[in-house]
């Protein structure tokens, strides 16, 4: 009997000690993290000073080991680049896991589940090519390594060789960079040349602009089609679904609606409901109804239309193109953003961080970015030149290569931020907005549901 009593007393005391320890630790940790935030801003100042002064030299690691790369869709240049790297350093083995290629039933949530499992058990891939992962959340949880120090320690990564503004586009307000784009994927918008002829004032306004925000696009487009009959052969915005239009309008002044870092959502507001209703009105009036239109046989005008940068620049240098005055899409403050979908991240629990960084450097180097399988606006300057030239030569573009290239370069140099809104939030927006446009629920219901769901996502 005494023995049992002693045992239970012992157990009770140890549990108590455990609880007290934990609580003390936890409250202590909270205090630390608060002062930690201040330290970071001080650190950033010191870092900037340090860069002007002496940057610590980067020591190359031993080129030995196995690197695993995980991606949902494998970029084309990845395999040849890996082969070349392995030839240069025979002791290094690179394994690429492209989910789309390997699985019978590629689904995004399955990819995310197996990716998370690997990551949290310490067995994840060393390098990740982001497709739709919630990068901001992953960054907050410390899953991705902060690459800003690595970049500052690599002397070749300077403005001469790279578009540093794109490379550092994903730098958040604490100075941390969790993802690096390898391509600058910019959205541009252009306007109908024909309709512009009738509105010289709009044409003048566009001439003086370097980039444009979506509400301005809508505004100009509406003025361009004023007085015409909707749906007959005049349309407002081309190639953009209603849900995408809403997303564009939200992106214009993102912080008015969703502030991910502060975990605040302001969607249950008049502003958002007005947004939804205004687009619904446009749809109801028939301005976007392009489903049954016969594009091949009838003359048509689209007031404003988006385009991929390469095509947009081609149209721009061609004096006879139907669309002109293409420029990058920005938000209301003039920030041009690149998509987070073509970015490289480094796993913070990787055992070969330096080796992985060497490979990332190699991927971004002149050698790889000049490969023929690289298409798009590479972040490496020489790679950029080569891929622009390739595109110019393979497409019938009137206008000189010089003009074409300069136009694209001007656009890329405007990039100064990256769209880091978590993928899941975008999917939630898409789903509910879709239901609104299908008539399944009212604007008010949509706003309320979205408010609830996104708040839940941020605060769960």
């Amino acid at each position: 009997m005494m023995k049992k009593k002693k045992m239970s007393l012992l157990i009770f005391l140890s549990v108590l000690a455990f609880v007290i320890c934990g609580c003390a630790d936890h409250s202590g940790k909270k205090a630390k993290s608060d002062s930690g935030a201040e330290d970071v801003s001080q650190d950033k100042e010191m870092q900037n000073e340090g860069q002007d002064g002496d940057t610590p030299e980067y020591t190359k690691p031993e080129m030995k080991g196995e690197l695993r790369i995980s991606c949902f869709i494998e970029p084309e240049f990845l395999e040849p680049a890996a082969k070349q790297f392995m030839e240069q350093y025979p002791d290094v083995k690179i394994v690429i896991n492209g989910y789309m290629e390997q699985s019978n039933t590629p689904r995004e949530d399955e990819y995310q589940t197996s990716f998370n499992t690997g990551l949290m058990s310490g067995d994840g891939a060393d390098i990740v090519f982001n497709s739709f992962l919630p990068v901001t959340t992953y960054g907050e949880m410390g899953a991705f390594e902060d690459l800003s120090t690595y970049i500052s320690q690599t002397p070749e990564m300077n403005d001469e060789n790279y578009y540093m503004n794109v490379l550092k586009a994903a730098q958040n307000k604490d100075g941390k960079i969790y993802i690096i784009p390898y391509q600058a994927f910019i959205e541009t918008f252009g306007f109908s040349t024909e309709l512009l002829k009738e509105h010289e004032d709009i044409e003048n306004a566009l001439r003086g602009k370097e980039n444009i925000c979506f509400s301005e696009v809508m505004d100009f487009a509406k003025r361009l089609v004023a007085g015409k009959n909707p749906g007959e052969n005049v349309f407002l915005i081309g190639s953009r679904s209603t849900v995408q239009i809403i997303q564009d309008l939200i992106n214009d002044s993102r912080n008015d609606f969703i502030e991910q870092e502060k975990k605040e959502v302001h969607l249950d507001t008049e502003k958002y409901m007005d947004l939804l209703n205004s687009v619904k009105n446009i749809v109801d009036e028939g301005w976007l109804n392009m489903d049954e239109f016969d594009f091949y046989n009838t003359e048509y005008y689209i007031a404003a239309s988006p385009s991929v940068a390469m095509d947009a620049a081609a149209a721009q240098v061609n004096p006879q193109s139907k669309m002109s005055y293409f420029m990058p899409l920005a938000d209301k403050q003039g920030n041009v953003a690149v998509n987070a979908n073509n970015c490289i991240a480094l796993n913070s629990s990787s055992e070969h961080k330096e080796l992985a960084w060497e490979f990332i450097k190699y991927l971004l180097s002149d050698e790889v970015q000049s490969l023929p399988s690289v298409s798009g606006l590479s972040v490496n300057r020489r790679g950029f030149e080569k891929s622009v030239e390739r595109w110019y030569n393979s497409h019938d573009i009137s206008g000189s290569l010089e003009d074409y290239r300069n136009l694209l370069q001007g656009w890329v140099e405007q990039v100064n931020t990256c769209d880091m809104l978590d993928g899941p939030i975008k999917s939630l927006l898409e789903l509910e907005n879709e239901k609104f446009f299908n008539g399944q629920q009212t604007a008010e219901e949509t706003a309320k549901t979205l408010q609830k769901q996104i708040e839940q996502y941020l605060n769960e």
Binding site: N97, S103, N104, R107, E110, T113, S114, T117, S121, D123
Partner: protein, 278 residues
């Protein structure tokens, strides 16, 4: 049971049967519909009610031909499922019988505590145990193979738990008598316990089969290669994409299991008779 009671329960069973059969009948009949009809019936955009028809407008085997003939992928996945589940059921039976027998026969301090532990660890839901299982599989280096799924399933405490409880109602005097006669454990197990255990074994086999035939989550994590995936992961995506094909696939998938169950439920009814204690 009196006549009237029997008739009432009979009727109740028939009513229940209709409810139970409804999804299977719908799946079966829809699998004979052409893709266009399926799309028309289940479109969500319109204001109409969804048509869950039992009689297809036009009976066609197009879904089945797509499933079985056009690409051998589905057959391959089906056999993967079999390769995964058969060892699980077999392994579970063997391990559980041995362990349950040991629990019944052995006496040591803390036996009940160990047994209680067997029960407690079953209470953790799958979301929690998936990641530690991944870690353990990593340590054991079996991460990429079927073993990572088969081994945890084989050692599932459910079997031990069920069979031991089952054995509790068995007359222990049989065993004592056999022991005095000089029989070893092997003979006791084989000749005396196993025949009496048939309903329990049947229940265990059937329930384990059903549990793991539809397994999806573990397969997603542990099996990465396309040609090794079981059919259940594919069928888990019925909501997106080709509905008609998914109906045909589900029917094809459920029928073999039902056949096995039909054969197996015979064993559930065999009772034991306390005759001939000799």
């Amino acid at each position: 049971m009196s006549e009237k009671r029997a008739r009432i329960s009979y009727i109740l069973f028939w009513v229940a049967a209709i409810v139970y059969l409804a999804p299977l009948v719908v799946t079966l009949s829809n699998s004979f519909m052409s893709s266009r009809e399926v799309e028309k019936n289940y479109s969500t955009a319109s204001e109409q009610y969804i048509d869950m028809n039992i009689i297809p407008e036009k009976v066609t085997l197009s879904q089945y031909s797509k499933l079985l003939i056009d690409s051998p992928v589905y057959l391959n996945m089906f056999w993967n499922s079999v390769k995964l589940v058969a060892p699980i059921v077999l392994g579970q039976l063997i391990v559980s019988v041995l362990a349950a027998y040991a629990f019944m026969v052995m006496r040591f301090r803390g036996k009940e505590v160990v047994f209680l532990l067997y029960i407690i660890v079953m209470l953790l839901p799958l979301q929690v145990t998936l990641m530690p299982n991944y870690i353990v599989a990593d340590w054991l280096n079996i991460k990429e193979s079927y073993l990572a799924i088969i081994l945890p399933a084989v050692f599932n405490p459910f079997g031990v738990f069920l069979l031991r409880q089952y054995m509790k109602s068995m007359p222990f005097s049989y065993i004592e008598a056999a022991q005095v006669d000089g029989a070893g454990h092997g003979r006791i197990l084989w000749s005396i316990i196993l025949p009496m255990l048939k309903p329990g074994l049947a229940a265990l086999a059937m329930l384990t089969l059903l549990d793991y035939w539809n397994l999806v989550d573990q397969a997603v994590i542990f099996i990465q290669e396309a040609d090794k995936q079981p059919l259940s992961t594919f069928l888990a995506q019925i909501n997106s994409g080709e509905l008609g094909l998914a109906f045909a696939g589900s029917t094809f998938y459920a029928i073999p299991v039902l056949l096995i169950l039909f054969y197996g439920q015979e064993f559930l009814k065999k009772g034991i008779a306390i005759t001939g204690m000799k």
